[in-house]
Structures are given as structure tokens and as C-alpha cells.
Symmetry: C2
Subunit: 417 residues, 2 copies
């Protein structure tokens, strides 16, 4: 289903290193304070399904699903929705995000948006996320909704920590709430209600998503995922001379998956570690073939300070043939006629990989047979595990984000003065 | 109109360094082999206006402008269109791109797209860009168009090098052609017909775009832009210990400008330089406040190997007020009530800047009074000049991209075997 191949070698790597790493993650898993490991087996999807069956989106005429959320509350859903935008069961509901506090974006989002046609999902651990609570206030006024109204209860639901201020707010006004599982941070939360609720409403088979994640989870904890460990070991060992990790995905469908990866990698690993050292690895997300015409030159001829992971999809679900039209004066392009666009983009992936390798750049390839719920669930869990492994080796707390708190304090002071 | 402030110091910097740098660029300009310097004064906009007046898009019922182009042929137009999506003169024509050879993206682009309502602009220096020529072939078949048809001439035009194979193709079938000015590479071409033609059709005042660029150009060649020189000197001097340059733009409207910057910076500077050394600086584009919840942690606590440029817009053209709604249990968010979203996002910019500076990160700020054609033209030229300056100091040919040729050769071989 998904093949992984490493094209870099590490002669110093011992089997013991791999086993130690497996054991460390097994320990972390068994300690129970890292919640995302448990999501593939969670039965939350049953609650989600029951809620949606009861709500009946079709009958109510809901055409839009709007997320009020930022960072970990939005990126994962956006990633999976785009990856699966082509699947048959994807219905025609529109997904939109109240994410940035940019007035132009908010105004553009609201253009023609009708309350009666829209289901809003507000996602915040505590409810104090300033972006998200400001959006809620603005929407209340924009749609002339009172907190006590039936319409508010009908068109808004919440995803939050159990017992949080937002949970209490929802309780007071009778809003339906889903809870974030314990010990699951925002950027690891896409396989909880945070992602599953909106994706289910859009028609995605969320059980299959979880199944894909579980396949990799089981395989990893059976110690059959040496390549994952080798990658983490290689990245951690080379963090000084190779501080940049490029994800080069050969289909536009990975656009937001790249963004999700950037958050996961940057926010998890960029830390003052337990030895007091500033560590971290810089993620870069690229899309092929587009970014062959952008960033590739820097990889090929710039400083050799980057690793590159190529992602390739054998069957994209849709394929189109380049017709056998010979354009006068443009005969040089005839070689591609009668081939498919999938064949072209995948050959571009291979050609780029080869030319990058020839420059001595550390490359690995992840090859997906197809792009469906199972393979997407697998990819999500793959990157979450890779992050946990690398975080362990960098000796950081992979799951917190202490550095961003200061900005929030400064912000508040600016308005209180 | 636009203020620039540097918050990093360079005690070793001499006035002579700045003057030498001005002189080097003046020489490059006067040598005449770098074409983009001349674009602000070009009269191409007159030809574009005449063509559009003659074509009469309104009367013909054109609702979509579709670009066939990739890299430098698409990124600049996308950047400016998004930056100016809110302006009053922006009409309701839709802009779309046939860019990646991703079959899913192509199929989604074509959904409901009608030939009669669409004006296609194919952009390629020679016509041999494999992505773009494949799109043309596919569209010809999809719309059942013959090369000889009136409809083809009516709905397609070309932007290419004068005398190129694509120019000859266009001549043979009577297509309207615009030419790329001499010595202007793709990534420096947005102020030529490449950007000006589609943007004019969309209602953007292209003369004002050029005016903004010319304002900075004149100021620079009058040697009044020391901050630009200082930034380039600082980046070049610190290329080893600070190889990553983050552009942190505080409005979603800069999303594709960031992508345009990434191409410009990566492809221009990532080179084997004239001393045979692999050099280059890695660009990262971020959007505030969204990426405070993503990449910021890495800047704050990760390795101090990044410079950060903050972009702030005082007046975004649209503003919205956060209403004075006190949400029970969420009283902690009351401090923002009655303030505007613009005030919030700009305070977030300030707060982030302060917290990043406290970590000793090299920061500078670009502050725009407003987001309009003039300021956007200025910003485009600002980054083009900064790239030329830095490229000179890194001792590279800023304007070529030799590293990506090998991949094209390998690709062709894959299909010829």
C-alpha cells in the first residue's frame, strides 16, 4: 500500500540504536501521557456518527461546514480534505475556515454565506484562543444571533477540553460539545473529533482513516518500521549540518498536508532541550512539479544542508491522457503525447529525485499506491510517529510549545494599558 | 507610504560597503543585460490597454481568466491578485491557473469551465515548457478546438520570447502575442505583460503598479535606500550562521506574495558561485497570526539560524470591529472587545516581533500604510532589488537557474527509451 525507501546510508548506524529507539517510544506509549497514540482505536467516530445521524445535515439544507479554529484546530482538517477532494463519497458541501483575524479574509468568507446553510464548529482547548473567540463574537453580531437562541444551538457546536471555560459556556447555552481526548495537543489532534467531525460531515469515511493510522501503529509497535527509526536517527544525528527537512510532494493534493507537516515538525522539535540547548529542524513543504520551477535550484546548487523526502502517488484516482496533438514549431514536446498526466508527474518526481541524489543530497521516497482514506490515515500517523521519534532523539518535550506564550502576554498588555 | 526599520545592528558595517554596493548595482543596471530594472518605465501597458479595449471582455461575456504557465509565469500574478483582491476596481472575473500537471487539479479546474466565458493566456519563453504545452494540448482536445479555428484565436493569446518556437506557432495560427522583454527571466517578469495583461483584465490599475515600482527604483538609484543595502550586506555576511530568511507577513493577502518571494530568493541565490562554492539562502514564507500557531515556536526556541522580516499593513482597506459581547466563562477574552480586527492583527505583529527580538533574532519591519497598486508595485521591486543586491554579494549569477536543467534531460530520456 505504502512503500518507503531510503537512499541515504549511515554506516555508523547499529541495530542497537534502532532497538533503543523502539523501546523509548514503547515506554512513552505505555506511560500513557501522550494521548495521540490511542486515537486510532478510539470509538469517538461512533459518537460523531450518532450526532450526525440525529442532526440530519441533508434535510436541514446545510451546504457549508465552517471551522472556527487556528493552528492545530484547522490545519489537519484542511490537509485531509484536500488530499481526499477527489473521492467519490466526498459530497458537495463546502469547507471554510475562520482562522486568521484578517478583516479582508473574514469579509470574503462571509460574502453570501447564509446562517441557515452553514454548520459552525468552534474548536479551542480552553476557549480563550483570541482569534477563535473573536470570530465567534463577530459571527454572533453578523448573524444577529443571541446566545439564548435556538438558532445558535442549531448552527454551532464546540470541540474543547472537558471542563474548560468553553465547555461551561457551551453547557450554559445548550450547545452540543465534543471533547478533546486527554493529553492530545492541537497539532496531534486531527484523528480526534477535531478532524473526524468535519470530515465525516463532508463524506469522508473516518473509520478507514483510523484504520490506516492503526495499520502503521500496529506495524510500528511490532517493531517492523525500521525505516522510520533510521530516518529519525539520521535527522537527529545530522541536525547541525543538515538542519532543513524538505517534503517534496508530487501532487497538488498534498498542499495543506505540507502545511500540517510544517506545524507538526517546527512546533514539536524547535525547543530548548533538556540539556538547555536550542535545537530544532526547519521544515519546508514543496509541491511537484510546480516547485521544480522555484525552490529546486537551491536544493541542487545551494549549500548541502537539506534532506529531501519525495512523496509520489501511483494512482491519483483520476487520470487524463495528453492527446497526440503535434503542435507546429513545438515538436520538441511531442515525446509526452499519448502518455498520461500521472505518468508525466511521476516521471518528473523520479527525474528530480535522481538529479538531487547526484548532488549528494540525502533523499528518501514514500510511494503511495493510491490516495484514499486508508493511505491518508497512514500518512498522518507516519509523520506523527516520525516527530515523536525525532523529538525523543533531540531530547525535547515534543508535545508542548512554551515559546509562544510570551507573545500572548505581551499582546494582552497592549490592550490593557 | 512604506517605512522600513532594521532592528539588528552591524557594528562592522562601513559607509564604504554601502556605497560599493550601490555602485555595483548601478553598473549592472547600466550594462543593460538585466532587463527587469527597465520594467517600471516600460510602455507595454499601453499595448495591453489597446488590446483589451479592442477585445472588449465585457461584451464577449468573459468571466474567467486562465493562465497556462508555471513558476515565474504564474506566481507573480497570483501574488498581486491576492494582495489586491479587496480593491474597489477589482471586477468579478475569476482567475485560475493551469499550472501543475496534476490530473486531479486539472479535472477540478475544468469543472463547469466554459470556453465561451474564458480567456486563456499561455505563457512560456520558448513554448517547450512541458507542463504548459501539455495543458494546451489537453485544452484543445477538451474543448474540441482545432488550431485553425476562429474560436482558438478568440480565446487564446500568448506571451513568449520574440522569435521563439511559440511565437512562430502563434504566428502560423494567427494568435495575438505579447513579448517578454529581453533579459527578463521568469521570476523577475511580473511587471511585464506576464503579470500586467491578466491583472489589467481583472481591473487592477497597472499603471499605478508600475508607478510604485518606479518610486522605489528612483529612490534606490538616488542612493536613498541604505536600509536595503544594509539588509543585503547583513544577509550575505551571515550566510553561514543565519542561512534561513523568514518573511512573516501579517495579513492573509500576502499568502502568494510569500510564494513568489520563495521562488525569487531560492532560485536566484541558490547557486554554485563564481568561486565554485555552493551558496544560497533558504526562504520561508509565513502568515501572521496563523503561523504564530505553527512555525513561531521554532523561531523562538530553536537554533538561532534565521532572520525575520515582519510585514505589517496599517490600513487593509476593509476593517471590522470585534463587538462588545461578553461571553460567560470566557471573560478572559473581553480585553479585545470594541477593538478592530486590524488593531488585533497588528498588535499581534508587534507582540510577536518583540518576543522574537528578545531571543536575539535579527528582525526588521516593513510597514505599509495601505495595500493598493502603488504599495504592491513598490513591494515587488523592493524584493527584486534586495535579491539583486544579495546575489551580487554572494558572487552568483542572480538571473540564471542552471541546476534545474539536468532534471529536464533525465525526464525526456525516460519517455524516449
Amino acid at each position: 500500500m505504502i512503500q518507503s525507501e531510503l537512499f541515504f546510508k549511515d554506516d555508523d548506524l547499529h541495530v542497537d540504536d534502532i532497538n533503543e529507539l523502539y523501546d523509548a517510544i514503547v515506554q512513552e506509549y505505555e506511560r500513557g501521557d501522550v494521548g495521540y497514540y490511542l486515537l486510532p482505536e478510539s470509538k469517538e467516530f461512533e459518537k460523531i456518527r450518532a450526532f450526525c445521524d440525529g442532526y440530519n445535515f441533508e434535510k436541514k439544507g446545510i451546504r457549508n461546514v465552517a471551522i472556527l479554529g487556528i493552528g492545530g484546530s484547522s490545519l489537519g482538517t484542511k490537509a485531509i480534505e484536500k488530499l481526499l477532494s477527489h473521492i467519490e463519497n466526498r459530497n458537495d458541501k463546502k469547507l471554510l475556515f475562520f482562522e486568521n483575524v484578517d478583516p479582508v479574509e473574514i469579509a470574503q468568507n462571509l460574502e453570501g454565506l447564509k446562517l441557515e446553510e452553514t454548520f459552525f464548529i468552534m474548536i479551542s482547548k480552553s476557549g480563550s484562543t483570541i482569534e477563535t473567540s473573536s470570530h465567534l463574537k463577530y459571527l454572533l453580531e453578523h448573524f444577529k444571533l443571541t446566545l439564548q437562541s435556538e438558532q445558535f444551538r442549531e448552527h454551532f457546536c464546540l470541540i474543547t477540553d472537558e471542563g474548560s471555560p468553553l465547555d461551561k459556556f457551551g453547557e450554559e447555552f445548550g450547545l452540543y460539545r465534543f471533547y478533546l481526548p486527554q493529553n492530545v495537543g492541537g497539532r496531534f489532534s486531527v484523528l480526534s473529533a477535531v478532524g473526524l467531525l468535519p470530515l465525516h460531515i463532508l463524506g469522508v469515511d473516518i473509520e478507514k482513516l483510523l484504520l490506516g493510522a492503526k495499520m502503521l501503529k500496529d506495524s510500528f509497535f511490532e517493531k517492523k518500521e525500521d525505516n522510520l527509526c533510521k530516518k529519525a536517527l539520521y535527522y537527529a544525528k545530522n541536525q547541525q549540518n543538515m538542519p532543513i527537512n524538505v517534503l517534496f510532494s508530487y501532487t497538488s493534493q498534498f498542499k495543506y498536508f505540507n502545511d500540517w507537516y510544517v506545524q507538526l515538525w517546527a512546533e514539536s522539535l524547535g525547543k530548548i532541550n533538556r540539556d538547555g540547548i536550542r535545537v530544532g529542524l526547519t521544515p519546508v513543504g514543496l509541491i511537484g512539479s510546480v516547485d521544480q520551477h522555484s525552490f529546486l535550484q537551491l536544493i541542487i546548487e545551494g549549500a548541502n544542508d537539506k534532506s529531501v523526502t519525495m512523496i509520489k502517488v501511483k494512482d491519483m484516482g483520476i487520470d487524463l491522457i495528453i492527446p497526440d496533438i503535434k503542435l507546429p514549431h513545438l515538436e520538441k514536446t511531442n515525446f509526452i503525447n499519448t502518455h498520461s498526466f500521472t505518468a508525466l508527474i511521476n516521471a518528473q518526481c523520479d527525474a528530480t529525485m535522481q538529479s538531487v541524489q547526484e548532488q549528494g543530497v540525502a533523499v528518501d521516497l514514500i510511494e503511495l499506491d493510491s490516495l484514499d482514506e486508508v493511505s491518508v490515515g497512514y500518512m498522518i500517523f507516519y509523520y506523527e510517529l516520525l516527530t515523536s521519534l525525532t523529538g525523543h532523539l533531540l531530547n525535547v518535550n515534543t508535545y508542548d510549545q512554551p515559546g509562544v506564550e510570551l507573545g500572548k502576554v505581551i499582546l494582552k498588555k497592549k490592550f490593557e494599558n
